[in-house]
């Protein structure tokens, strides 16, 4: 089940929230949330639900065993290795078996390993990392083992972040499992953030996806230079608004039920370097690999050569995590090389360069990088790059009208504007006036600071007015803000419903 489906929005969510707020105690709320999450998962993966339950049970046992062996260091290490092997084996088998079989067989020139062509269990990349982070944190003594399997199950399977993240670490919400507090303000603000995320996904990402998908399906010689660049730019916005929209919805849903998740996207497209880009893009993944792979490998507190190796390992794994194909590995290594270069070669020069240079540099790199990510077939990728270089003319085999690129320019402009922190900037200016205080600048805490992970201020509109006249302006603005959000919700709902449009087959004849 996905958030932007009729089933989720008009059946699952109302029902889950209704029961959640009716049942009285924390234990029953948590149990209901676990049950709902299992239904949510089973809806799309009826068979793989057993895999998830197995993962929950096994990691719960690992946590307990680690907790009961506080003083036996070698045994604890062995348990951690076992837990890591188990989790890596689960994701390795279900996600990478086909990829490995294909490559090993190609290497040896015979069918040595059978390709089982297993369908990928939805969300396995996310919930496996969450489970792994729990066991590692218990090993490190940073969190106490969870004795209640239902609570651990609720953490691993919790439906808001189950299929598309963010990767919520156990230490982030361990206190909230029992001690969270649902409030009217939290519910309303969570709903506001959910609507913002839904609109990003449904109104922006899904719209530009139509262009991106069409352009990709036509191929380089057909689309020419204009089509290739427009398609890649459309995909650049599609992936951002799709992914960050899901994250916003997840964080919003969590907040409605009293959870405070950390930020996952922080305006990555305004970055001035690739290092900054990865501090703003999929933050929960990059911090996971930083804390659980890069730093344990030695991080940067080692020789230069070892540091380069560490970065290369982390980014190869990052690439592979995104998908079982060589293009993802290449994409990860592309960023690994760039990050190494920024760290050791041109990073300082880039920091001193005019801001516009940094922005253009980062934009060129991540836009081009998405071509690796998007196009899995090497021949198709090469042809696409040729089109981007103008080898097939301006519009390829098509007329400019047929390319349909022109239809999307208002949406692409809207996407470009929505990729910048213009909304928090305007909000901060207004709120500082209402509260008669100096406005925080862009980059300060809460205002697109890449190291600020708190989500409390996202999509909220709350201030303490300094005077009566400012209070009136604030009240009017807050009502208009809510009306705008309701309009976005209605437009998103209309778009979701329109997704079920099935033209009568007779019409085709």
């Amino acid at each position: 089940m996905v958030f932007s489906s009729s089933t989720f929005m008009f059946a699952f969510l109302p029902l889950v929230l209704l029961v959640y707020f009716i049942v009285p105690r924390r234990a029953s709320k948590n149990t209901w949330l676990l049950l709902a999450s299992l239904v949510f998962y089973a809806w799309g993966e009826p068979v793989y639900i057993f895999l998830m339950i197995t993962s929950i049970v096994v990691n719960w046992i690992f946590g307990l065993v680690l907790g009961e062996n506080q003083d036996a260091a070698s045994r604890r290490k062995a348990i951690l290795v076992l837990a890591t092997v188990f989790n890596v084996a689960v994701i390795g088998f279900f996600k990478y078996e086909g990829f490995l079989a294909e490559n090993i067989n190609a290497l040896v020139g015979m069918q040595l390993v059978p390709n089982l062509e297993l369908p990928l269990p939805i969300g396995i990349s996310f919930y496996t990392l969450q489970a792994l982070s729990y066991v590692i944190d218990v090993y490190r003594g940073e969190v106490a083992p969870q004795r209640n399997i239902l609570y651990l199950g609720m953490y691993i399977a919790c439906f808001p972040q189950l299929i598309a993240g963010p990767i919520v670490r156990y230490q982030t919400i361990q206190d909230q499992i029992v001690g969270r507090k649902e409030t009217l303000e939290g519910f309303a603000d969570g709903m506001r953030l959910f609507i913002v995320g839904l609109a990003k996904k449904v109104l922006l990402a899904n719209t530009v996806a139509i262009l991106a998908t069409k352009i990709l399906s036509l191929g380089g010689p057909t689309i020419g230079l204009v089509g290739a660049w427009a398609g890649l730019i459309a995909y650049t916005f599609q992936i951002f608004f799709d992914f960050s929209g899901y994250s916003d919805m997840a964080i919003g849903l969590g907040r409605m039920m009293g959870f405070e998740y950390l930020r996952n996207f922080n305006y990555p497209y305004i970055s001035r370097s690739i290092t900054e880009f990865w501090r703003r893009w999929h933050i929960s993944l990059s911090t996971f690999f930083r804390d659980y792979v890069y730093i344990p490998l030695g991080g940067s507190r080692c020789s230069k050569a070892r540091n380069i190796l560490n970065i290369a390992i982390v980014w190869t794994i990052t690439g592979l995590w995104h998908g079982a194909a060589w293009n993802y590995v290449g994409w990860g290594m592309y960023y690994g090389v760039l990050l190494i270069c920024e760290k050791f070669i041109w990073g300082k020069a880039l920091a001193k360069a005019p801001r516009i240079v940094g922005h253009l540099y980062a934009i060129c790199i991540f836009v081009f990088g998405w071509s690796f990510f998007w196009i899995t077939d090497p021949a198709q990728l090469l042809s696409y790059w040729q089109a981007m270089a103008g080898q097939f003319g301006l519009t390829g085999d098509l007329s400019f009208w047929e390319l349909t690129v022109w239809e999307y320019w208002p949406v692409l402009i809207l996407c470009a504007v929505a990729s910048t922190p213009i909304c928090p900037f305007v909000k901060e200016r207004f709120m500082s006036w209402v509260e008669a205080r100096p406005a925080r600048r862009i980059g300060e805490d809460g205002i697109v600071n890449p190291r600020w992970y708190d989500t409390k201020e996202l999509a909220t509109f709350t201030a303490v007015p300094a005077s009566h006249s400012r209070d009136v302006a604030y009240q009017v603005a807050s009502v208009l803000y809510d009306i705008a959000l309701l309009a976005l919700l209605l437009m998103s709902c209309a778009s979701v419903v329109s997704g079920s449009f099935n033209p009568f087959i007779y019409f085709q004849f």
Partner: protein
């Protein structure tokens, strides 16, 4: 602050509970039969799907349930029209600097809105989709059939319909249209000389919309009569029956292009033909018939069909 949060939360909950609420109202019989049917899609709404282990495991329950929930949205057809209308407004805005004569009715639509002609037409076929080789192959098959029945007189009337017509407002916007001339060259010209090929090409949009609906891919009864006359002439007959075209129903008639393109901007009226009695009796299959029988039988059944299948909203003749 609290009251603002209460009102906002209430409004959101109302929107999210629309389906379930609508279902309750429908269940207690508060809605008419029409509410269980999509006019745009020409289908009855999905009923609650069969819940069983098998249907859950193969995912058919889930996909039907998704359709079921989407179908529960009150005024679903209007919601879809509104959504497409918003997209069309955006596309019209995008079109403003370019001034194209046709633009899609929504993002990704195969149907085009042509404001200057008050029409919704299909996107022209291209030679990439309809290749010369495919047409040549089809011509070969027809030629073989004609060759096997050389005692029969053949007429092949290639209709100049929306997708291939030169009169389609988007014809000149496409790089390689598979237009009527292309089809004549690659298909009709490859049929044997013995086969008659009446020319049904249309000169321009004005003529086209006299013969075809503005919001449907079918020809009007007038278009059918023109083709009928051309075929008769090809066989050496002189069509001498006088006829009169009149509006059979009061509009609006929203054609298949409107429904497929989710547009209600333009509509048509449905014409009928009645044969003026220069003749009183006709012979069909050896039986003598009254003229009224002929009119009933060969009047425009299209409107009746559409009405019978509830595909269009037509008002009865005054």
């Amino acid at each position: 602050m609290n009251s603002r949060n209460i009102i906002f939360s209430f409004c959101v909950c109302v929107v999210l509970c629309l389906c379930l609420g609508h279902n309750v109202v429908r269940a207690v019989g508060g809605l008419s039969d029409d509410s269980a049917r999509s006019y745009l899609e020409g289908r009855t709404y999905q009923t609650f799907p069969e819940l069983a282990v098998g249907t859950l495991a193969d995912g058919s329950f889930q996909s039907k349930f998704e359709q079921y929930i989407a179908d529960l949205i009150p005024m679903r057809d209007d919601v879809m029209l509104l959504n497409a209308g918003l997209q069309r407004t955006t596309i019209a805005l995008a079109d403003a600097p370019f001034g194209f004569s046709a633009y899609p009715t929504f993002f990704g639509s195969d149907y085009l809105c042509c404001p200057a002609d008050s029409a919704v037409v299909e996107t022209p076929s291209t030679q990439r989709a309809l290749s010369a080789a495919a047409l040549e192959k089809a011509a070969g098959l027809f030629a073989a059939a004609i060759g096997r029945h050389d005692n029969v007189r053949w007429q092949f009337a290639l209709v100049d319909r929306s997708r291939s017509s030169h009169a389609n407002p988007a014809h000149d916007l496409v790089a390689q249209p598979a237009d009527y001339q292309f089809c004549v060259r690659e298909f009709l010209d490859k049929l044997p000389e013995s086969c008659g090929k009446p020319d049904l090409s249309v000169a321009d949009a004005d003529e086209y919309f006299q013969l075809f609906y503005r919001t449907d891919h079918h020809w009007k009864i007038g278009g059918a009569l023109v083709a009928y006359g051309a075929i008769l002439e090809g066989f050496g007959f002189e069509p001498d029956a006088d006829y009169q075209i009149s509006s059979q129903f009061e509009g609006p008639f929203y054609g298949a292009n409107d429904r497929g393109g989710l547009s209600a901007e333009f509509s048509d009226s449905v014409d009928d033909v009645s044969i003026v009695p220069s003749i009183q009796k006709v012979m069909t299959n050896g039986k003598e018939r009254e003229l009224s029988w002929l009119n009933e039988r060969f009047g425009d059944g299209y409107a009746g069909y559409k009405k019978a299948h509830r595909l269009c909203k037509l008002l009865p003749r005054r």
